[in-house]
Symmetry: C2
Subunit: 152 residues, 2 copies
């Protein structure tokens, strides 16, 4: 993914968003670090580069990006909005132990079937919670709780 200032600027301009410095930086951050950051993470990280930045601006900016469908809102935990610049339909797995969020991909035709015929579907969200393989390994090494690891 091209995350140069020019490319990000172009992306904003293409979507009729005036490419102000804060906007460029927020988008750049989302594209560069695909960590599904919270507002606070974005804010405190960018504050290092933009000392005058306010959290309101981050909220406003993300609101615009959502409206224009440049990012998607990830709603895994109540009271913790996260943002993803990858707007393709994909799933998120959150590890309850290390809190990391992993992307995963699937054939999106599998959902939205059956009873939902004749609906207009705008958004598809899939998320899982559990313990990631790395944390399972640690847990097992320490002789912790026994979890059934899932094999597909």
């Amino acid at each position: 993914m091209n995350t140069t200032i020019e490319a990000v600027t172009q992306k904003l301009v293409n979507n009729k968003i005036k490419p102000s410095y804060p906007r460029i930086k927020v988008m750049e951050y989302l594209m560069k670090w695909e960590s599904h950051p919270t507002v606070d993470e974005i804010y405190s990280e960018l504050l290092k580069e933009i000392p005058t930045l306010s959290k309101t601006t981050v909220y406003n900016t993300l609101g615009i990006f959502l409206e224009r469908n440049l990012v998607q809102l990830i709603n895994i935990e109540e009271h913790e909005a996260r943002f993803d610049a990858d707007i393709s339909v994909h799933g998120h797995f959150k590890c309850e132990r290390c809190a990391r969020i992993e992307d995963f991909y699937f054939d999106e035709s599998i959902i939205g079937a059956l009873s939902l015929q004749n609906c207009f579907i705008r958004e598809k969200h899939v998320y899982l919670k559990g313990i990631c393989s790395a944390c399972l390994d640690h847990n097992n090494a320490e002789g912790g709780i026994k979890y059934d690891s899932e094999r597909n």
Copy 2:
């Protein structure tokens, strides 16, 4: 589904939850009306029958039910926790127009595949947003916006 007081009481007792009146009523409400209510909906509805009820009790009760895995938390809209007494893996479709939430079922083996090998998966959540068929019909009758209705 059996939603008599006795059956609900039994359900709580089986899960080592003391079957107090508020708890029975909250569970009964969730089982009877499969509308995925918010805390406020549960609270204001039950207040009619239990005038001394406090919202804290509803929160506490739902918290216990979540812990014991008697209900699941539905996280479709930020700032609007909803609860579902159907803990089977199934999806929710929320109509952006009429706000109704429809259940839908799918083969759960389809998610959690691929990259998530060796993870322990505790929860699977799938939700969609869009316009339901009824609202699409109204919209079309009124000559509103054109949506592509989805046919699977």
